[in-house]
Symmetry: C2
Subunit: 312 residues, 2 copies
């Protein structure tokens, strides 16, 4: 690809709110490649902390004031998934792998936008190292591998592409990770340790806002090897969702994702939300919520039917 | 770039309404690369006809009913620049080099979007041939060269990048165009022959709608080596603009671009439009309109200040 991207040295590389491993590692690896500062907009989750510790990489600085700053957006493309001040930023570029819905980062002039249908934003960043013939250090290979394994649940989710797999294999070699499956399992174990979180914190750990026209919805996801321990807090999580709904939300959804079976149960905050889910997925509610077999991806499995429902 | 793009064989490759050489040639070259059908949404201008004739390439079919069809969007990214039915299309990918404003082609799920800050969409398409190791025929090299020379006015506009230049040189060699400058001049002469057009047709020849929030504006451009012949029709063009304004437009603008000096004069349909231009560009109106020295690009020079004005 004959792109010759460069950014000013004061550029901030910014992942989405409620940072996950892919957005955090994308920001770190991109800032390392182009120069500039990686930024997170919140507390790291235990999986991301595990990955950074593993490869001895520093946590990015926290920042949520982007007014007037040069910003490269990674792993998201909607202003609603960043601090409000991001609309006052000077957006230099967007590198992402999500669908474009409302509230895209609009610009006054043309900028470089690269959205690919791979499973991890780190796959795209790693490809820029290759295109630009920049050697990848063991540390950077480790964090990008972490991002890919996180978003693909160890290369197992159905939307994992051959490109994600090839890039992960290459990065694992450079990072000195001999047993990728075992490393991915360690990441899942770290991610599944939610003992220190309250129900409200679990709801917000991987939570995103989506805007469809005038409608705002919230969609949280919890992926765990020990999902039953999370489901044990169902009443408190429901209460936290109902509390959230007061903040101008049309609906709040939350998915219990069982990483041992790759099945999910999606719940709503109240009866109205459950009706939306039943109509969007064409599935009746069970005891807990709408059961989706083999579906675990918010981006590919959960949001498209919900988006179609609200946009029709 | 490790993208492995493929599209179904019934895919339509669609440029914007009021087709120009870059969008038409992008659609042709992309359809040739990936398989599928190139589409135009209107009559070709004399420059595009010249280029296709030169390389003995067939005109794309006309189509403006995209409902339910598989569509790859080239050289634009806003639904307002396609037929209304495009919102009912299945958008497979967007390959473009314009700013993202309102009315982007939103999707239900992730798709491949490639927006680069090069001066021509054909530059991007040519890069895919290279990435995919597909040999470029003399015909396809010719049409892509035509697209690049058209959008860069023979590689002379300031936003022409080194990448556009490199790709154009490579394509010229394959196409057997020995004197690129002379060929670009022939294109400009073909483009400047507007003798068969009425004032209303000249206004619409390279005309685009832009939506800023609830505001719709129209912006036509006429680039010519013989701009005085166009300016001679100023009263009729003004009348056509005022007529257009009745169709729900907040403002209508039109740029007389003098290709012999690379200067422009931007006019409005009425006093209110001229006031917008004066405020957007910070320049007082002259006899004809707002004079912009060395500025000739709608995408890079004209729209950003107008967009900033309406978005503030």
């Amino acid at each position: 690809m004959s792109v010759q991207l460069s950014f000013p040295s004061n550029a901030l590389f910014v992942g989405h709110k409620n940072p996950d491993t892919d957005c955090t590692c994308s920001a770190i690896a991109a800032a390392n490649l182009w120069g500039g500062t990686p930024i997170v907009q919140g507390e790291l989750n235990p999986e991301t902390e595990f990955v950074l510790k593993q490869f001895n990489v520093e946590k990015p600085a926290f920042e949520d004031n982007f007014a007037g700053k040069d910003v490269v957006v990674v792993d998201h493309n909607q202003t609603t998934q960043s601090a409000a001040s991001v609309v006052e930023a000077n957006i230099l570029s967007i590198i992402d792998h999500h669908a474009v819905q409302d509230n895209f980062f609009f610009q006054k002039g043309p900028i470089h936008i690269d959205m690919r249908t791979v499973a991890s934003c780190c796959t795209i960043i790693a490809d820029y190292y290759a295109d630009m013939n920049v050697e990848i250090s063991a540390q950077m290979a480790g964090v990008m591998l972490g991002g890919i394994l996180s978003d693909t649940l160890g290369l197992t989710v159905p939307h994992t592409t051959d490109i994600d797999r090839e890039v992960a294999a290459k990065l694992a070699k450079i990072a000195g990770v001999e047993d990728v499956e075992a490393f991915a399992q360690e990441m899942l174990i770290a991610k599944s340790d939610l003992s220190k979180y309250t129900a409200a914190e679990i709801l917000n750990l991987d939570y995103k806002d989506f805007i469809f026209g005038d409608i705002k919805i919230g969609f949280g996801v919890c992926e765990s090897l020990l999902i039953d321990k999370v489901i044990a807090k169902h009443d408190e999580i429901s209460a936290a969702m109902q509390e959230n709904k007061k903040n101008g939300y049309e609906a709040i959804f939350f998915a219990y994702v069982d990483l041992t079976t790759n099945n999910s149960v999606v719940i709503g905050a109240d009866d109205a939300d459950f009706t939306v889910l039943e109509k969007a997925f064409g599935i009746s509610k069970g005891d807990l919520g709408v059961s989706l077999e083999g579906k675990i991806s918010r981006k590919n499995d959960f949001i498209p039917p919900v988006s179609a429902y609200f946009n029709n």
